[in-house]
Subunit: 153 residues, 2 copies
Amino acid sequence: MDLFVSKYFNKIDKKGRVSLPSSFRNVLPKASRNEIILYKSIKSPSIEGCGVGRLKEIAKRINYLDFFSEDYDDFSTSIFSEIVTTNVDKEGRFLIPEELKLYAGIKTEAAFFGQGYFFQIWEPNQGLKNTEVSRKRLLEEKKSLRTILTQQQ
Amino acid sequence: MDLFVSKYFNKIDKKGRVSLPSSFRNVLPKASRNEIILYKSIKSPSIEGCGVGRLKEIAKRINYLDFFSEDYDDFSTSIFSEIVTTNVDKEGRFLIPEELKLYAGIKTEAAFFGQGYFFQIWEPNQGLKNTEVSRKRLLEEKKSLRTILTQQQ
DNA sequence: TGGGAATATATGGGCGTCAATGGGTATATG
DNA sequence: CATATACCCATTGACGCCCATATATTCCCA
């Protein structure tokens, strides 16, 4: 499986370390399995994360913008300066920077939610609540749901 | 990671030295890890910096502009003639030239903002303010943001 | 197929190394 | 000679690496 799926609830220890779920680690390319990137979600009080490969893609895309334009600066500031890279130790643990923990309200436990090409880290209760809300919203729009789910690959 | 990412706030000591963040140092090619270039940002009261290798890329960008336009002259003058090279000492510190510090309003602390292929140095408060403004401007143009951020790797 | 062994995962803690910072002294440069 | 800058050494706190354990999972063989 090369996608981030399922959800996990892991503890944060005294040193601030938390295990990246094993199945998530396996999604990362072997070459850079000891490094992930984290950033504040734009749409919710949660942290989003993924492998470094995705970041390089984004960098390339931004690079195509007009170097002297305002857009260029906005993108590169909002994205690159907000992104943090974190090392995953041999046991599969990493540190969530204080600022990101604050943003997501995370204290002693972190909830990991697979999102396909990336994952989200939530304060457990808020994360669960969010799943519920999302699901409800989705079911209320059965039409579009059907469209998405029944398309052939 | 071979990109300048994240942000760091480092102190300037009595001698005017400031640490280049460790992760930034690692982005520089090993061959010239003791040398960086600095110049005034064209668009903001901040200092931009990068490894010497990036010079060629800047030259290329300027070269794409119409040779006979005013822009060409303006850019090439205001960038190239303003570039200074600075040595990074064994502890990873360097000196910010007085003129550049004045330009950015930097006194006792410098804020380093990763920008992918280069980085910016700001007076901490101004830098934070700028991040906010950039982010807001970006969120108002969700369309282009989506294009850049959500494509799959 | 059931049960026990081997392995993997999540978690805890000790300790050495590195990064950021401060300061003394040598050296260079005008 | 005077000032600026590079090199050396020291300190502190954070982080990475190693080792350990308990639980969960997988594997294998009888």
